[in-house]
């Protein structure tokens, strides 16, 4: 029972983290029609910035806030200098150009921070276990991730659905020429959206950093997961990304936790322990393949947003 609740929460936490990453990706994809493979690099930069600034200032919160600002600025700089020129080009060009950016960021990190990973230590008040149900404790930090991510998701929803900027963003997604003709500065809007996506990726990276090590290439595995999510959810749909992210986070976490035991009931224990990790990593891709075969446009196509 304890294990089930704990793994369930872990799945929720991982799913919400994936949502932060996927939300930025799906916004950029849906609105600018830009395939940004370098989104994972922004996630990595968020983690590196946080580790550096936290060590600098001695405060986790302060470091996190500074890292958030830094990734926002980095995203804006990236958009203005490079990615802006890719709008309207072929998706393949995007893949190639942002693939180059991944190479660049990984190498730049190696040059600046060295090949060894960094650690981002948590303040003491975030490491205590919190009782969530009678007799069941859960780490405060993971709980904090869930709360922050849910808050951000809510803000994002309200921001996109209820504010003037959000309205412009939605309008830009459905018809960019029209909104430009109505006198909206579409370039500025795109830069803003890209910066927002970068900051979300940075937030995901810096929140994940204390749980995993901060290392080069950390963004690449999770980037693929984020792509899987937006494809399952339907490209451009934030609601789809949210549901798919939670779904994928759950499947991944629960699969890793319980699949070995399940397999052990049908296979010999050595066969089960070797097959289980591969099988649980495959589950998500299997899910995506099934979704795409059944619904080639994803579960929540963007036009129903």
């Amino acid at each position: 029972m304890l294990l089930v609740v704990e793994q369930f929460l872990n799945g929720l936490q991982f799913g919400l983290l994936l949502f932060l990453l996927a939300a930025g990706l799906t916004l950029v994809f849906g609105i600018m029609d830009l395939v940004n493979l370098a989104h994972g690099s922004l996630y990595m930069m968020g983690a590196y910035f946080a580790a550096t600034f936290a060590a600098w200032t001695g405060s986790f919160i302060l470091g996190a806030l500074m890292a958030l600002g830094a990734t926002l600025v980095l995203g804006i700089v990236l958009e203005v200098t490079a990615l802006r020129h890719l709008y309207g080009r072929d998706h393949l060009d995007h893949v190639l150009a942002t693939f180059g950016l991944i190479l660049f960021f990984n190498e730049a990190v190696r040059l600046i921070w060295g090949p060894a990973g960094l650690a981002l230590p948590l303040p003491a008040w975030l490491t205590v276990p919190v009782p969530i149900l009678p007799g069941i404790h859960y780490p405060a930090y993971r709980l904090a991730i869930i709360v922050v991510a849910l808050l951000v998701a809510l803000l994002l929803y309200l921001g996109v659905m209820r504010t003037r900027i959000g309205m412009l963003i939605r309008a830009g997604a459905s018809n960019r020429e029209m909104i430009g003709a109505l006198g909206i500065n579409i370039k500025l809007l795109y830069t803003l959206v890209f910066g927002l996506g970068a900051a979300l990726a940075g937030l995901a990276g810096l929140m994940q950093a204390p749980i995993l090590t901060v290392q080069i290439g950390m963004g690449e595995n999770i980037l693929i997961l984020a792509f899987v999510i937006i494809v399952i959810g339907g490209i451009g749909s934030i609601r789809g990304a949210f549901l798919a992210a939670i779904f994928v986070g759950m499947i991944d976490t629960l699969g890793r936790a319980f699949l070995p035991n399940l397999l052990r009931q049908v296979l010999s224990s050595t066969a089960a322990s070797t097959a289980a990790p591969a099988l649980s990593s495959m589950l998500i891709y299997l899910l995506m393949a099934i979704v795409l075969v059944v619904r080639p446009e994803g579960l929540f196509p963007a036009n129903r947003r």
Binding site: L92, V228, V231, A275, A278, L279, G298
Partner: protein, 314 residues
């Protein structure tokens, strides 16, 4: 027609260089360059196979490295199980790749655009994780191929020069095949589907069937590259199927010029030589390579072949 001649001249020069390379290597005693170019030729073969579906067929597969792994594992696993004959290993490698391409192609071709890119990526990642789970064959650490494929005296794969020429012959054979395919009725239909699938369907061509056959041919060719690659490195691991490897192949095709016969070869040669050259100058070669790719996309439309064509036209 002057533009055509510039790219043709460069292509001819490159091919002559590839053919004469072992001569240079033995004269100068530089063995390393032969090893390097064997790898380049094999990856050029993989890139050429990707170009068939990407450049001519308009099918953007982001999972092409999976076939490199499947071909490689076919050789490695058979060698491990005591079947060393290349006459068994290579046909099995090709058949396994073809079968994989048939299954994932049939499923993937239901989608299009970005969704196609992503679903092919997903299938390749699945293959990657299956290979990582093969505990009997090394799992994550990969599988060492202790003995290269044995062609019972016909050709000795352990001999560097013979192996190089085998790879080069395979590359040229595949390019010849692609040339014949592209100019056949079948190839014209596939290219027609790239430009306008609806119209082709309206004329009465079964679109998916043509695309699937093209997809399978391409996968089979790449499986050949995989079998050669495993022989070249005496080693096969899940890492050859990782998605960044598929990205490398895509980069080679786009860099060289999509939908041109020799573009992918040019792309592979330039990309891998550049990587080698930059890594000798600085440990941080990717710091230059990354922005370079960005610049190529921004300013070099049509890849190297496209640029050569424009240079020729002045």
């Amino acid at each position: 027609m002057k533009g055509l001649s510039v790219s043709k001249a460069v292509t001819a020069l490159m091919l002559a260089g590839l053919v004469l390379l072992p001569l240079y290597s033995s004269l100068s005693g530089n063995i390393f360059i032969l090893t390097l170019f064997t790898r380049i030729v094999i990856l050029a073969l993989a890139a050429a196979s990707l170009n068939l579906i990407m450049g001519y067929g308009g099918m953007m597969s982001f999972g092409h490295a999976a076939y490199l792994g499947i071909g490689g594992y076919a050789v490695g696993i058979l060698a491990q199980e005591g079947i060393g004959s290349g006459f068994v290993q290579f046909p099995v490698a090709l058949a396994a790749s073809a079968l994989f391409a048939l299954v994932i192609g049939a499923l993937s071709l239901r989608t299009r655009g970005v969704y196609f890119i992503m679903i092919t990526l997903a299938f390749a990642q699945m293959a990657y994780y299956v290979a990582s789970g093969l505990a009997r064959y090394g799992g994550d650490d990969g599988l060492t191929v202790y003995k290269r494929s044995d062609f019972s005296g016909l050709i000795d794969l352990s001999d560097r020069v013979q192996f190089y020429y085998l790879c080069l012959a395979c590359l040229l054979g595949v390019i010849f095949l692609i040339w014949r395919i592209v100019n056949s009725r079948f190839g014209l239909v596939v290219q027609g589907l790239r430009s306008n699938e609806q119209r082709m369907q309206a004329i009465g061509f079964p679109a998916k069937r043509y695309q699937l056959v093209c997809f399978v041919i391409s996968g089979t060719m790449c499986g050949l590259a995989g079998a050669l690659l495993a022989n070249n490195t005496d080693f096969v691991s899940p890492a050859v199927m990782y998605w960044t490897r598929s990205g490398d192949l895509m980069v080679m095709v786009i860099l060289g010029g999509m939908g041109t016969l020799f573009g992918p070869v040019m792309g592979a040669v330039v990309y891998l030589l550049l990587e080698e050259f930059l890594s000798q100058i600085t440990e941080y070669w990717a710091l230059i390579m990354g922005p370079l790719l960005l610049l190529i996309v921004l300013f070099g439309r049509g890849g190297i072949m496209g640029v050569l064509g424009r240079v020729g036209r002045g």
